[in-house]
Amino acid sequence: MFLKLFKHDWKSLSRWLVPVLIGIGGAAVLGFINALVLGATGSGNTDGRTKEALLFSTFTGTALIAMALAAALTVIAVLIFVKFYKSMVTDEAYLTFTLPVSAGRLIGAKFLSAALWTVIGAAAVFAAWIIILSGIWITGGSTLRGEVGEITRDLFNMIWENPQIMIPMFAYALTGAVRVWFQVTCAILFGAAVVRKNKALAAVGMVLAVNFAVNTILSLFGIAGMFSIVMGASYGITQDSGELTLPAVLWIQSGVNVLLTAVFWWWSVRIARKSVNIE
């Protein structure tokens, strides 16, 4: 039954998100063409003023497209949560809550489909950025290619040569993303499905209130981490002095994320099973 729920949630999200992916693809093509011109202009021997104008316009265009691609991730997140709100609170909730499935499976399937769509969206945006960069790479001439290659190499070296930082950072990002999803789920259910009137307002209010509370808790650990860095813990790769190191802070925050995820999961399931009022 879980797989069937997942299948239908996946399809339901795809109706909204496939057009966004097509938009990302279109932006990538546009950005690629723009980047080809940018690269060619940068390495070409055109007149000074024309070159400057072309560089300015193509650089601005490429930068705007790259930023729009980043914004697409926010659009995907918002669409996922609007879809979730509709299926759990509005008319569609009449179907959702009369299906013969447990509340845990219901929420779990929604989480899985939302998580996969988020990963797909992020991968699509990353791929689009690579496509745009490749445009500069192709026409940019050897000097520019060398510079882009150097930046890329530095980036990968930083990742591969510092696993003691990168692994906890990855764990923190992953647990944080999962926690945020369940946090918003719980807030929507609590704010919208339990109250009677102004459900959308209640949902948004609860999302903000819970977010504020959680971030306050997490910032306590964050401040401690930042303090250790400022005081010279040098990313805290070594713990000789017993200081609170950056990796340690990240692991602690990851642990808090896991704990909060469990709390929000339990609370969401409880609301969906016992307290939801679809009036």
Binding site: K4, S12, D91, E92, A93, Y94, T98, P100, S275, V276
Partner: protein
């Protein structure tokens, strides 16, 4: 209030629906007030009452969408749960499908989640109605969308059908279609609970009735028996009973 039994005597089998002191309040306002009634299995029963009498609230509690404030509710002896949801076919008074879904996807959804769903019968009914299954719901007329939902709900071999205002807001021809579909398509032996305030239209198909007012059952019984004893139709009786309130 004492339990009313539509069959007129103590049930030999477990009632399809049993409400015992059922109360539901929205804030301070009671929608159901210590409602106690038992509905027998295998009958088409009208849940009749004016607007705001608690019909929809009762149906939502039975469907598992609302939780009672107090009292107990049973469906074939079981409290509303995943188990009863598998046996209850619920038609709300609004569209509950995503308008972006195709009719085909709605059929597949019912097939995936309801073991008692008779897909062949659903497809046959949709075909008779000329509903194109490859069209999205939002491209169909309101009437056709409602028919799709009704067909899917009635194509289940459920033990209890909960139909909330199925003929409200539709033209007389559509009412005839809906009522004939309910009578012809429901699982034989199952209970059908139809909530409406359009009593004249629904009366010919009813075996029993419950008059609700202010969240309480003010009268209930077998339709034929009451008609014979009072010499009045349910519609006339309804007007008479509710004139007092």
């Amino acid at each position: 209030m004492q339990y009313d039994n539509i069959a007129g005597s103590a049930p030999l089998t477990v009632p399809a629906v049993g409400c015992y002191g059922l109360t539901k309040t929205y804030g301070a306002a009671p929608a159901l007030s210590e409602l106690s009634v038992e509905l027998p299995a295998g009958k088409i029963i009208g849940l009749l009452g004016p607007n705001g009498s608690g019909k929809t609230t009762l149906i939502k509690i039975l469907a598992g969408l609302l939780r009672p404030t107090a009292g107990d509710v049973r469906i074939y002896g079981k409290t509303p749960s995943e188990e009863t949801k598998a046996e209850v076919s619920y038609l709300p008074e609004r569209m509950y499908f995503d308008p972006g879904m195709k009719v085909e996807e709605c059929v597949v959804l019912f097939r995936d989640f309801y073991r008692d769903f008779d897909e062949t019968r659903a497809r046959s009914m949709l075909s008779v109605l000329g509903v194109p299954t490859d069209r999205k719901l939002k491209t169909l007329s309101k009437g056709t969308r409602e028919k799709v939902q009704l067909v899917l709900v009635m194509a289940r071999r459920a033990k209890l059908y909960l139909l909330d205002e199925p003929i409200g807001g539709v033209d007389p021809a559509a009412r005839d279609f809906i009522l004939s579909t309910i009578v012809a398509a429901h699982n034989p032996g199952a209970t059908v609970l139809v909530s409406t305030h359009l009593i004249r239209d629904v009366e010919p198909v009813l075996d029993g009735f419950v008059f609700l007012s202010g969240g309480r059952a003010v009268m209930s019984g077998e339709a034929e028996k009451v008609r014979n004893e009072s010499g009045k139709s349910l519609d006339e009786l309804f007007r008479e009973v509710f004139r007092c309130f």
